[in-house]
């Protein structure tokens, strides 16, 4: 009843090809952005910024990067954390070694460095596909983490490769509070999400999806396979690289190579599987699910056990947490294998008819 495109006529292809062709969607997204930029900073406390919102945005960005590569271009990768590491260490080194480089420029350079490394590890994708490619990207994961520990120059000779990031300063303004950093991350993530959406709705994205869905047909149409795949690797790694830089500069403050382990790569992969493979929105939903659910369980389970007068040890609670988390992932995958983004789509379809289905 409230969500209906009746009466919204499109008179140009431009109007028909906009990102949100339905007016209610445009209003909705506008509201979400307004809340994120204006309301949240006014209301949320330090804990919310540090533990929930900022990491959520950063992981959503990394998931978005992986989604470009795996969801849109169909190249399975297990190296996202490694590309994040490249971004983090590159941004650190650009800040350290280039005199007076603006922080945003060093973030972009970090992304570009990660893109270069991504292209390098994307080269095998011409010959191998699917699980085999995943194993090849696994090499990136181990090799890069090993490099960062092995060559002290990369971490400015600090012990065991730990780097502490300098303060974030843009045009003389110091982003030191949790709220400032949240806003900076939010702005970067919003812009990059918009750019990703623009890419996937144009020729670039169509070429990626063509390669994903039917590579022979794509080739016959004239889409160059290697270049398209490498571009996907580059753009994806750029996103992961920037996410890594933000992870170091705006979230943790100091990182070590082991923080970017295979574990993190899997986390990001789960985010896009749960959120929706091949969906920009899905990257955000997945990141929210994977990141927030443990926190939610953390809060809920002790409450629940005291409510039921159960004497639970701390370790038992954390075991139950893991079990519930795993069960929920399986539940979602069984109910909707295409992820939360598809659920949202179905809900919207239903809403268009509600409450008069005829």
């Amino acid at each position: 009843m409230f969500y209906r495109e009746t009466g919204q006529f499109k008179t140009s292809y431009g109007a028909d090809q906009q990102i949100f062709p339905i007016r209610q969607d445009r209003i909705g997204v506008g509201l979400v952005l307004a809340v994120a930029f204006l309301v949240v900073p006014a209301l949320a406390g330090e804990y919310w910024f540090n533990a929930i919102l900022t990491p959520f945005l950063i992981f959503a960005l990394a998931a978005l990067g992986l989604n470009i590569l795996t969801g849109y271009a169909g190249q399975l990768s297990l190296g996202s954390a490694a590309f994040m590491a490249v971004g983090a260490y590159a941004a650190y080194n650009f800040q350290l070694r280039v005199e007076g480089i603006p922080i945003l420029v060093s973030f972009i350079c970090a992304g570009l460095t990660a893109a270069g490394v991504g292209i390098l590890f994307g080269l095998p994708s011409l010959r191998i596909k699917g699980f085999y490619l995943a194993v090849a990207t696994l090499a990136a994961q181990f090799f890069i983490v090993w490099c960062l520990t092995k060559f002290p120059w990369l971490s400015n000779n600090s012990s065991s490769g730990v780097i502490s990031t300098p303060t974030v300063k843009i045009l003389g303004y110091v982003f030191d509070g949790a709220r400032d950093k949240y806003l900076l991350v939010l702005a970067i993530v919003s812009v990059m999400a918009l750019m990703a959406k623009n890419m996937v709705r144009s020729k670039t994205g169509r070429s990626w999806m063509a390669v994903r869905d039917m590579d022979v047909a794509a080739e016959v149409i004239g889409i160059p396979l290697l270049r398209t795949k490498l571009l996907a690797f580059a753009v994806s790694s750029f996103y992961c690289g920037v996410a890594g830089a933000l992870y170091a500069f705006c979230y943790l403050g100091s990182v070590e190579p082991d923080g970017f382990s295979l574990d993190l790569s899997f986390h990001i992969l789960f985010m896009i599987i749960i959120g929706g493979v091949g969906s920009i929105l899905g990257s955000f939903l997945g990141a929210a699910f994977i990141l927030l659910l443990p926190i939610l369980l953390d809060v809920l389970l002790p409450e629940l056990s005291s409510l039921l007068h159960l004497q639970l040890q701390g370790s038992t609670v954390s075991h139950i947490q893991t079990m519930v988390f795993g069960a929920l992932i399986m539940f979602f995958l069984v109910v909707e294998p295409h992820g939360l983004a598809r659920l949202w789509q179905i809900a919207k379809e239903k809403l268009r008819l509600w409450p008069f289905p005829h």
Binding site: S12, Y13, G14, D16, Q17, M195, A196, N198, M199, S202, K203, T204, G205, R206, S207, M209, A210, R212, D213, M214, V216, A217, A218, E219, V220, I221, G222, I223, P224, L231, V235, G278
Partner: protein, 260 residues
Amino acid sequence: MARQIGDVILDLKNISLRFGGVRALTDISFDVKEHEVRAIIGPNGAGKSSMLNVINGVYRPQEGEIIFRGEHRHNMNTHIASAAGIARTFQNIALFKGMSVLDNLMSGRTLKMKANFLQHALWWGAARNEELAHRAKVEEVIDFLEIEHIRKTPVGRLPYGLQKRVELGRALAAEPSMLLLDEPMAGMNVEEKQDMCRFILDVNDHFGTTIVLIEHDMGVVMDISDRVVVLDYGKKIGDGTPDEVKNNPEVISAYLGTQH
């Protein structure tokens, strides 16, 4: 518009193609003239699809020569073929299943689009205008094939007959000068076949597109093609107008068997 069959634009000379020890095509020569409908027929496994794959560069023959628009080549490659205006459809539908009909058709025009990914990311000036201009062209194809109602539907959800039509649309979106159709009517009912025939003849008529087609329905082949080449076990056993081919004893024996 009366269509006039022009000169030879594609000449295949002594093509031989082997996969290991399997001889898929042996010493095949035939030509295709501009604006004509050229059919390739033959029993299953005769090498018809391999022939199309040689023409647009998916397969590289070990021997022979391909002369397209006066350029001699030992073999084609997919990039040259698509840039030269050769488009094709596949025997088993090769659409991009996760994309909408519109996106599938748009992807057919990839080679005509010049903006790079950075311009796309910013959705800025040239990139946006280009997308919209090509959308207008794609809409012409959508009108032509009468698929307006499904333009936003993911192709995976469409019935088989419509998917075949969309695949033809994707090939047409490239505005090809030569169209290779691999069994465009396989698995269709009579009505769908009639539609498809109409589209093929219209394309040929309106746009003067040269058509090379593989088809098993002899009624269709004899009706719509100007010349027919017959393959059997990778060898050419007949070539000529539908009437000549129909009365060729070798062709009859390949299809019906002979009494010994």
